[in-house]
Symmetry: C2
Subunit: 418 residues, 2 copies
């Protein structure tokens, strides 16, 4: 069976001048992958007629499916629709369902008068199948040409995601006979990519030819991903289960989860399973750990609250850190990390707490320690542990590294003290 | 003068299966743009020999410069270096400076024994100019072929950024005679893209042919960007200044800043200018506003702290919200938003405070209000204002929209009450 391949084509000057980060392509790639469609290429071009045309020609030689996002807005720089009408031929007609949708959005949701540009959003070439937009005004378009499929969708993430989930993915599965694709991911923390590779070298060298192993490092974590493709779904799944089981004892001590999840999800699930709650006292991470934990829709069951104690006075007055310790040892030390844990547990009455205090850079804020010095404290009502870390480089990376490391410390503390 | 164009080629399966979001391309595109190099295309391919080779062939027909990131790691799935050695010819040699760098990192920074795979990172084809890596082990490579330039850099963001800033950008400016490119960005809030377009239609229709206007919407904000390219830098800068001045009165009421900055930077700068401080009391945003404000390296001068009052009890005990109000009206109402502002100002002694309480979804947490209902409060020690908002769609978007809207409310409150 021939492998079905896709290309993602993103349209918009904003991607080429770097004003916007392309999150759509990552989402689309994930969804296609789960469906057994291999993404062979991602291309981004600007709002320029010839460049879009040429990119469409090229991607159609590489892939069976081209998914296009962007360029469908109501403004003059959005030229995707007229281009596709020319590329695939046909006459522009008003789609009645799309028009009713635009009318409804303006009348009942936005409660504002409609503009002519919005009405034009309901126009489509009569050579496409219209994809209704449940979350916005611009409809999507499905074209077919010589056995290949080209789909155009808006660039607004939730609009595109709605179309993909409700229409495009199911229809692609109908239209193509798809190979089975399967992944197994192990999330590990506290070991570098090259040390991990050295440790599992024999495992990697003995992998069957149709199984690939990828190392995906990201801020203190590495995702180890096994991928296999083929026609016999049952055999592939079984083989990957076996390989995952062989890998597990080799990485047991650094394994966070045997699936592709985030550190915050692992910690949230652990807390939920134990019906316990956590709080944070954050100085240098400025609420980022709290933000990560509450990105989880179930967080109200395990997350109590946080104090972002940026100002030294807040550490002292709100979280009861000893004034003398602050004066003698500064804000970045073992004692402050420990007292922040105790202070926030006391204040918000959580079962556990994470505390961080450190210097994220670019300067060291007058403290007598290098940028990247961080003390992380974790604990419960009975016991508190604190450890010093040294991160490097830029502020954003230090904040990310501190957050991941602190959540992993909390996870290990919970597992070791139950 | 011919325009100098670049293509960005990103290598790695992780981008094609969507496990990683490509932030490198956005950063590179921004930097090239500032230097007068137009990014014509961005392409991502997997760790597959033929696909990388083909993409390199193709991008070299589209662009004068190809910047490659990724695939230089120490593990077996990283094949960029052998491929480039074959593509450009030459023999692999050990670069002494790169080797000294790898040795130094392991000896003095990581303080761990080195592996053979790490040693191999110092090997490069003798047909390239080596780019030293100040932030990691893998060196970069600069190749030239028929007047075109191909640069290979690691995929780790801070390593790539170091090479670009210290070596690649200066050398590209030497190597090519570059056109002048200039942008003017206006950041607006509180108006939709199509209404904005309608309002400035005449301005847009009368723009000179070599000036482009782009609308870049992002979570409650729209960036309006004017771009011009040409040989006479002074004339172009002056023309854009004039156009920006014509645009300003048309958007005065919704203009946040006449430059390309973030809402949090605008608010931080305003507070710094006034030597005032802000705090936040966050329920539904879970610390995200606090995180955004503290991403600014200068935040310690204007940011006091936050209480993330996720649990109802924290609202009551820590921030002194009236128990009766919570019982009778629930947590999402005007009174709670107002009392949170007062409570956090009292607790952390800031000049201003932002408070948010709402329902981010996917469910409404048992409250008698629809998902997306948010009350935002802003105020100082004398005065508090609160307003109800209705956002829609998914949790992540609601958190982003709430944060941006709340910071804009705070900005306007400060400007209106000074």
């Amino acid at each position: 069976m021939k492998e079905t391949t896709a290309a993602i084509l993103t349209i918009g000057d904003e991607l080429l001048i770097g004003q916007v980060i392309d999150t759509n392509s990552a989402w689309i790639a994930q969804e296609l992958n789960k469906s057994g469609i291999w993404v062979a290429r991602r291309t981004a071009v600007g709002d320029v007629w010839d460049e879009i045309w040429q990119a469409l020609d090229e991607t159609l030689t590489h892939a069976d499916i081209v998914l296009i996002t962007g360029g469908l807005g109501p403004t003059a720089d959005d030229i995707t629709k007229p281009l596709l009408a020319k590329y695939f031929g046909g006459t522009m007609i008003t789609d009645e369902k799309a028009l009713a949708n635009v009318n409804n959005i303006f009348k009942n949701i936005l409660k504002r008068p409609m503009l002519e540009a919005n009405l034009k959003q309901a126009e489509v070439p009569d050579t496409c199948t219209v994809i209704q937009n449940a979350n916005g005004t611009a409809p999507g378009m499905w074209f077919e040409k010589e056995g290949k499929v080209v789909v155009s969708m808006p660039g607004v993430p939730y609009e595109m995601q709605g179309m993909m989930t409700n229409y495009v993915l199911p229809k692609l599965k109908e239209h193509f006979t798809l190979q089975h694709i399967a992944h197994r991911t192990s999330l590990v923390a506290g070991i570098g990519e090259s040390f991990l590779a050295e440790r599992i070298k024999n495992f990697e060298n003995n992998l069957p030819a149709h199984v690939r192993l990828a190392y995906l490092p990201h801020y203190g974590l590495v995702r180890l991903r096994l991928t296999a493709k083929g026609e016999d779904a049952t055999a592939i799944e079984k083989q990957l289960d076996n390989l995952q089981a062989q890998l597990k004892p080799l990485i047991q001590d650094v394994l966070v989860a045997a699936q592709d999840v985030s550190m915050e999800t692992v910690l949230g699930t652990l807390l939920n399973d134990q019906k316990k709650t956590v709080a944070t006292a954050e100085s240098c991470t400025g609420g980022y750990i709290s933000h990560l934990l509450t990105a989880n829709p179930n967080s109200s069951s395990f997350f109590t609250g946080s104090v972002v104690c940026y100002d030294k006075k807040v550490k002292e007055t709100v979280l009861k850190v000893d004034k003398q310790v602050l004066e003698e040892k500064g804000t970045v030390c073992k004692e402050v990390a420990e007292q922040l844990v105790k202070g926030v547990i006391e204040l918000v009455n959580s079962d556990y707490a994470i505390a961080v205090t450190g210097l994220m850079g670019p300067d060291n804020g007058g403290e007598d320690k290098p940028v990247g010095t961080v003390w992380i404290g974790v604990g419960n009502k009975e016991k508190v542990e604190a450890q010093e870390f040294h991160f490097r480089y830029d502020r954003r990376r230090n904040i990310e590294m501190t957050a991941i490391t602190a959540m992993n410390k909390m996870r290990l503390f919970i597992l070791n003290n139950q």
